[in-house]
Symmetry: C2
Subunit: 410 residues, 2 copies
């Protein structure tokens, strides 16, 4: 595969030529700009001199090292400059970058960018085409204020307030936190999407805008099935089970669990054939998805798990797939990292991390016929691209950079 540096030079990547200034930290900011960088945008992390706060998050590895987990997983393909936005010269430098950029992306607390003098109201005067994407817990006051606007939020808050903690488990259980940190990740995906919506609009109008992506709003939208059902039909979805289909979810086999997804009557008939129980088709209480869901625990699960009890996950899945019944094993991380299909889909990238050396991480899940594959560039060290961006792009001399650094602007 070509190195990214080679091919972006000739503009081959989908987002080649789009420059993003990312005033970001932790996960909610960096995930979406990782998507943009993986598609070829030039994403420049604008970091305080000590680096963004997420850099210090480490996990103790199985062999006893403290592993910084965010850079390789979320900042491959990005660049880094240091700019102290609490310093007036730093603010001026940032404004110079805004003049030659397409997108400003930030996940500071609402109001912070304004207080620093780099809010959208200021930047649009410098560059009317700038697209200013703000990610926050509860939204931006200049766009659509609300009573919770000033509240801080991390992932767990978004999961808890959106109802997602009641979307899995059983009715008697406490609400459940999900470690997939989706309240950071999903709103950040939606941020990347809306940055491109604004970019598309700019092709027509020539103008940028302020885009307001809130964790709370977007997690409620993710949890749309149960909320819309309640709004439209006045019913609460049973916790952890679909009301419209069964068997639909994990069922216990001899050596673990298999997920069945019997959606619709054709698949139900195939399922009954697969387990040699055509007599179940049309049986009262199992006549459609809603009925089967209602009688899942009392009638259906004992039948299904009774049949599976002496069969391996593999045997069950093979048989189901042969009969055209959607099925798959429930996998945990150990299964996923060795999955032959994920290998064939080039799911894992090798990243040459400056601290960790070569590590594998999840790569770009979007496959596009006209996007050339490329080897990811390593996550940048703090300020690694000061010379390239502030020197070469903005035209500052080595001496000027040294002086700015000495005065605390970089």
């Amino acid at each position: 595969m070509a190195q990214k540096g080679e091919s972006t030079a000739v503009g081959l990547h989908p987002l080649s030529g789009i420059r993003v200034l990312a005033v970001e930290h932790f996960r909610m900011g960096p995930h979406g700009t990782m998507m943009l960088a993986d598609a070829g945008a030039e994403v420049i992390k604008v970091e305080p001199p000590e680096g963004e706060q997420g850099r210090i998050i480490t996990v103790r590895s199985s062999d006893g090292r403290d592993v910084p987990i965010l850079p390789a997983s979320l900042s491959r393909n990005k660049k880094s400059v240091t700019i102290n936005l609490q310093n007036q010269e730093g603010v001026e430098l940032f404004k110079s970058l805004v003049k030659v950029s397409d997108i400003v992306w930030e996940n500071m607390r609402p109001g912070v960018m304004d207080r620093l003098g780099v809010g959208y109201a200021v930047l649009k005067k410098i560059n009317p085409g700038i697209i200013f994407v703000s990610l926050s817990g509860f939204g931006q006051g200049d766009i659509m204020p609300g009573p919770y606007m000033d509240r801080p939020a991390f992932d767990a808050i978004g999961q808890g307030m959106s109802g997602l903690m009641f979307a899995a488990g059983s009715p008697e259980q406490s609400p459940l936190y999900n470690t997939a940190v989706m309240a950071d990740t999903v709103p950040s995906m939606m941020g990347a999407y809306s940055a491109l919506v604004a970019l598309q609009m700019r092709h027509r109008t020539g103008l940028g805008q302020h885009v307001d992506v809130a964790m709370y709003d977007n997690m409620v939208a993710l949890n749309n099935l149960s909320i819309n059902l309640y709004l439209m039909a006045g019913v609460k979805i049973p916790r952890g089970a679909l009301a419209t289909s069964a068997p639909f979810g994990p069922f216990k086999a001899q050596d673990g669990y298999v997920v069945l997804a019997v959606g619709g009557e054709k698949i139900w008939q195939r399922f009954c054939t697969a387990i040699g129980r055509e007599d179940l088709v049309g049986r009262p209480g199992l006549g459609n998805g809603n009925e089967r869901a209602l009688n899942l625990e009392t009638v259906l699960r004992p039948i299904v798990e009774g049949w599976m009890a002496d069969k391996s996950r593999q045997t069950v899945c093979d048989l189901m797939l042969e009969h055209g019944v959607p099925a798959g094993p429930t996998q945990d991380v150990e299964d996923i990292v060795v999955c032959p299909h994920l290998e064939a889909r080039q799911t894992f990238w090798e990243v040459d991390d400056p601290v960790l050396g070569k590590v594998k991480v999840i790569g770009n899940p979007i496959k596009m016929s006209a996007a050339p594959p490329f080897a990811p560039t390593p996550p940048p060290m703090v300020g690694q691209h000061n010379q390239e961006i502030l020197g070469n792009l903005l035209g500052l001399s080595a001496q000027e950079l040294d002086e700015l650094k000495a005065r605390g602007a970089l």
Copy 2:
């Protein structure tokens, strides 16, 4: 608010002028095109004469009606034409539409569009600029084949195979299905994102491409924290709990649960002050997030829940927020639909459903300063826009449409 029809006429919406042909059904297809339609794209559902399969999914309402839940929630702002793609004249009509469209979006099983004669290889010859977005369980053979490619998939399969069923709950529990159907929704969001990535590329190259968005790939990417941790540090995240922060998740108060998100030492100090236990700061075993996570159940939870036991959720949240500790109640659907903040953020739209009458549904969670608000148009009846699209746009006469219908093409 202006009606959509008024303002799209003058191209005010972000995606005005973008025409999408959606050969879609159930949820995985329709969610992403809903996002595009909510941003002003002209999304035309291309349905078989009997309507797409998702239209027949109903839920029994609290007052005993069978409520079709998908149209109002996923197809507001869309149009509908009937085209029978198993009929040669239907195929020719579809190709005529492709000539005047920007995006073809489909979630048929891989290979089906090719067999019908409307695969990307054919359509790109008719319109080299067409962007062809395919959503599937396991990906497209012409882009990046893999051994599971022909497998069917519904939401539960994507949750089970990506490890997400082990991301919540406790170690002794069975894997847990999450009713937020995120394996339909998140890949569909990523499809909308990648459609715009391809559109941005087309501004430079003039050419479209085939975009391959697989449920499995994208759910693995959503579950990136635990998989990347395993790849980079060789450790498995404990099920249902963050290893790097505590207290971080739901804790029991007098009348329900409160989510705390104590991320970092500054917030830990504020938390200790809030509960009047400054003595905990720096205590061995609670000295940083990793240690507190390790001692959560044995040491920390009893302290936190002991303090909360005689306090309401509201009291706890107010006090935490006063002290700058991120906190919020765990909410379920009843709380969400009356939340004053979501009301202020115009989260719920009133949709005039042709079957249900006026119902509220979750609207567009993305707020953009230059996007005019608009009242959503109702979800279309099957073929409601045959005259507008096939008649006015393609120029077929009423008689031709009648004849095509009689011959089974519409």
